[in-house]
């Protein structure tokens, strides 16, 4: 029940992001707008600790996705987990 509730909240959040920011508004732009320094530090940290290739190959494509897609993706994962655990979701 908890996972399904969280999934519904995340779906609602995804809907709000899509409606208010626009369906094509990138996740990275939203995060940068929320905290530019954290975004810059995060990139530097990943590049130093993991490597520039990881930033370019994994994080840039992910951050280029629409902002609504991240909460929607997590909501889907929660729904799947809940469906696999009947009676405990």
């Amino acid at each position: 029940m908890v996972l399904r509730t969280l999934a519904l909240i995340l779906f609602g959040l995804a809907l709000c992001l899509g409606v208010f920011l626009g369906w094509g508004y990138p996740l990275g732009t939203m995060m940068y707008g929320a905290n530019p320094s954290a975004m810059g530090s995060g990139q530097v940290g990943i590049q130093r600790l993991v490597g520039p290739a990881m930033w370019n190959a994994a994080f840039v494509p992910m951050l280029s996705l629409p902002a609504w897609s991240l909460p929607a993706f997590i909501a889907v994962v929660f729904m799947i987990i809940a469906a696999m655990r009947p009676g405990k979701g």
Binding site: T29, Y32, G40, S41
Partner: protein, 361 residues
């Protein structure tokens, strides 16, 4: 240059130096009441003796190192035949007409005091975020011709300069500068270019202009880094008008005697060697004079780490690492970092009265 003319030039410089000396230190001059001891000394009516002093400027070459007149004007003989010389000159002209770098004399005023870094290291280790975050980016897809730089804002005559026009009309010379990256590595590069002041003189800045902003090209088709659309592209950097007018401020169009490669910021970039390297905008398309301080790319992203001034100072650490020393590209030797990257004698006076500014970040 004929010997008489050279002597006349020296005499004029001596005269100027003496006049400057006398004007600057009248009390000191008045203290010496000596009879002339040599033909160089002159006795003024008030009994004051003057000793002419030749003060050479940093770029002046000692007479002993001047190429003999006979060799200069007899170079056809030295080369063998006149046709050979014409051939060399023709080849140089052809190189320039074909988009090559014009011949440039090295300006010895700014001797770096260190070995020039290997060209391979300089072109293969770099920051150019428009092409990615790796140090070994490939910027060859960036078209170098045609290329134009717009100079606008608070100027009398805004203009757009084609790169070929700049190569043909600007006073191109070679300068060997140290470059200190904020990431604590450094290199020594023989840049070819011209003073920024020469370019700004072409557009006649208004007296109200206080800052200069430099804008890098933003071409998504060839710059994969621009996919990080959340960053405040285009890359913008800036300096004060006084810093721009400093003789060290250099517009770079070449390196190692060749046209500037795209990964080093070709076809034209900026460099102020007393500041950290991120202040030097690459692949410039626009220079704007303004009365408002530009907020630079990195200053927008991480203002606590990268400020407007960003002058090199070994005693002011970056929030995440020390700036006391630097790794020299090529040798990997660890060497102490110098205040203003060692160019303090040229620029320190720019910052008098600015103690309240964050001059070192």
């Amino acid at each position: 240059m004929p010997a008489a003319a050279r002597a006349d030039g020296i005499a004029r410089r001596v005269g100027v130096a003496a006049a400057r000396e006398t004007k600057a230190m009248p009390a000191a001059a008045g203290m010496q009441r000596l009879k002339p001891a040599s033909p160089c000394r002159t006795l003024r009516p008030n009994g004051v003796t003057e000793m002419p002093i030749l003060i050479r400027r940093g770029w002046e070459t000692p007479e002993a190192r001047v190429t003999p007149e006979s060799l200069v004007f007899g170079r056809r003989k030295a080369f063998g035949i006149g046709a050979g010389l014409l051939g060399v000159a023709g080849a140089a002209e052809a190189q320039q007409a074909g988009g090559g770098l014009p011949p440039a004399m090295r300006n010895t005023r700014f001797a770096p005091g260190r070995e020039i870094s290997p060209e391979r290291d300089v072109t293969g280790f770099n920051n150019f975020y428009e092409f990615g975050t790796s140090k070994s980016i490939d910027a060859r897809r960036l078209p170098q011709r045609p290329w134009a730089v717009k100079v606008d804002g608070m100027v009398e005559t805004p203009r757009e300069f084609g790169i070929e026009d700049l190569l043909r009309t600007m006073p191109v010379e070679e300068r060997v500068y140290r470059l200190r990256c904020v990431e604590a590595w450094s290199m020594v590069v023989p840049w070819t270019g011209f003073p920024l002041a020469a370019l700004l003189a072409e557009v006649k800045p208004l007296s109200s202009a206080r800052y200069v902003a430099f804008e890098t090209a933003a071409l998504p088709a060839v710059m994969p880094g621009l996919r990080q659309s959340w960053y405040p592209w285009p890359y913008v950097e800036g300096c004060t008008i006084a810093e721009a007018a400093n003789d060290l401020s250099f517009m770079v169009v070449g390196a190692y005697g060749k046209l500037l490669s795209p990964q080093n910021g070709g076809p034209i970039r900026f460099h102020q060697p007393w500041k950290y390297g991120f202040k030097a905008g690459k692949s410039l398309v626009r220079i704007t004079l303004t009365d408002r301080r530009p907020v630079s790319f990195w200053e927008r992203i991480q203002p606590q780490e990268y400020g407007f001034w960003a002058n090199v100072n070994p005693e002011v650490a970056h929030p995440r690492w020390s700036q006391a020393s630097e790794r020299a590209l090529g040798t990997n030797a660890r060497i102490p970092t110098q205040l203003f990257n060692g160019y303090g004698e040229f620029v320190a006076d720019l910052y008098s009265g600015l103690q309240n500014e964050r001059l070192w970040a």
